[in-house]
């Protein structure tokens, strides 16, 4: 419960406390209903991406991504639909579990939902913003900064508790992504052994508490994991110093994976 509660209050504490905060997490309750998102909110995220990309990630493209949250979740046969009150249509999902949303006026008017045929808590969502042409096993920090902002704008990472709703009344979610101590959970493609920031001659390896959902410093993590959308992805999880602008957007984020051979 610790992560859930702290994540809930993260935004609320933002003004008052200069200390650190645990990761933003998705807490979506215990209903057996599907994992669904608001089409309008996702389009809102797409709009934000179009407005912000020129400054942060001018050559990048946006996709959305589905990730497993519970063991045994079948990620390879997902049917994803946009469902309004008078229509529905299927959204193709790529083999890497990413997809794009087409803009559809009727879906906006009918306040449609984007719904995969999977139960709540079985999956989670993220944005995937990539600049083409980067070296293998690397990402661009500006892309990842924008992933955080668009993810929050699109309400992909959300809390549904009462406290979180109250917190939302007082804060601009996206500003969380620009805090030096932001704890937006990123997931690497595979289990990571190290993550290094590189710009010019400057290199810095992230400390271990920036990997694995802070497992190094949280002996109770296993009790918190059911409340974290990183539950199945701990070995792929990392944080970034999003608000530290001594690292420019062109900073490369390099990954060494556990199973890589040197």
């Amino acid at each position: 419960m610790q992560i859930a509660l702290v994540a809930t209050c993260t935004a609320l504490c933002a003004q008052e406390r200069p200390t650190y905060a645990l990761p933003k997490v998705t807490v979506t309750g215990t209903s057996s209903g599907p994992v669904e998102k608001s089409y309008r909110k996702m389009v809102q995220g797409m709009d934000y991406f179009e407005r912000a990309r020129a400054a942060i990630a001018p050559n990048a493209s946006l996709r959305f991504k589905l990730l497993p949250r519970k063991p045994g979740t079948d990620m390879d046969h997902i049917v994803l639909e946009v469902i309004g009150s008078t229509f529905d249509y299927e959204v193709p999902i790529a083999p890497d579990h990413t997809f794009v949303l087409e803009r559809n006026l009727k879906a906006l008017q009918e306040n449609a939902v984007v719904s995969p045929n999977r139960k709540r808590l079985s999956m989670t969502w993220r944005t995937e913003i990539r600049t083409p042409g980067l070296p293998p096993n690397s990402r661009r920090l500006g892309d990842l900064r924008l992933e955080c902002q668009v993810g929050l704008e699109a309400d992909l990472v959300s809390n549904s508790s009462l406290i979180a709703r109250v917190a939302d009344l007082f804060t601009d979610n996206k500003s969380y992504c620009d805090r030096k101590d932001s704890r937006y959970l990123y997931f690497a493609e595979r289990p990571v052994f190290s993550v290094t920031l590189v710009v010019g001659a400057r290199r810095e390896v992230l400390p271990i508490d920036q990997l694995y959902a802070m497992a190094s410093d949280d002996p109770d993590l296993k009790y918190d994991l059911p409340y974290c959308d990183c539950e199945m992805l701990v070995d792929r999880t990392y944080f970034l110093p999003l608000g530290d602008h001594s690292w420019p957007d062109d900073t490369r984020v390099e990954f060494e994976y556990m199973e890589d051979r040197r």
Binding site: V6, C9, I163, I208, D217
Partner: protein, 126 residues
Amino acid sequence: MTIAPARLALCNAAFMVCLCVAGCANTGVFDPSPEGPGSARTPTGQSLAPQAAMDMIAMGKSAKADVSAAIGRAIVIPFDSGYEVWVYRWAGSDKTTRAATELVVLFEPSGLATKVRVRPGYATPN
């Protein structure tokens, strides 16, 4: 902006939850206790430098028991995959994890060390 009293009370309650639950999470700092896990020491209790500790680990040969016997108890991060990460830390100029030097060892599911690295500490910007 006017804040309704009830909303303010709820806001305060939420903030108190923050304070009570891990103090809004004390990440980025650590307690470099020499007795705690993650302090690299020889079996006779002498502290080890990061490179010396790393040199005592043989890739593909050292098992977990070998490593703990040689350099002491680690901070252990187990994963469902069977992989395990062990961490030893040396405090830097302050108690931040950024300033700390780290020795990180990866054990594959067979229990043998398969990767090791030393992360240098970095000066905390003013």
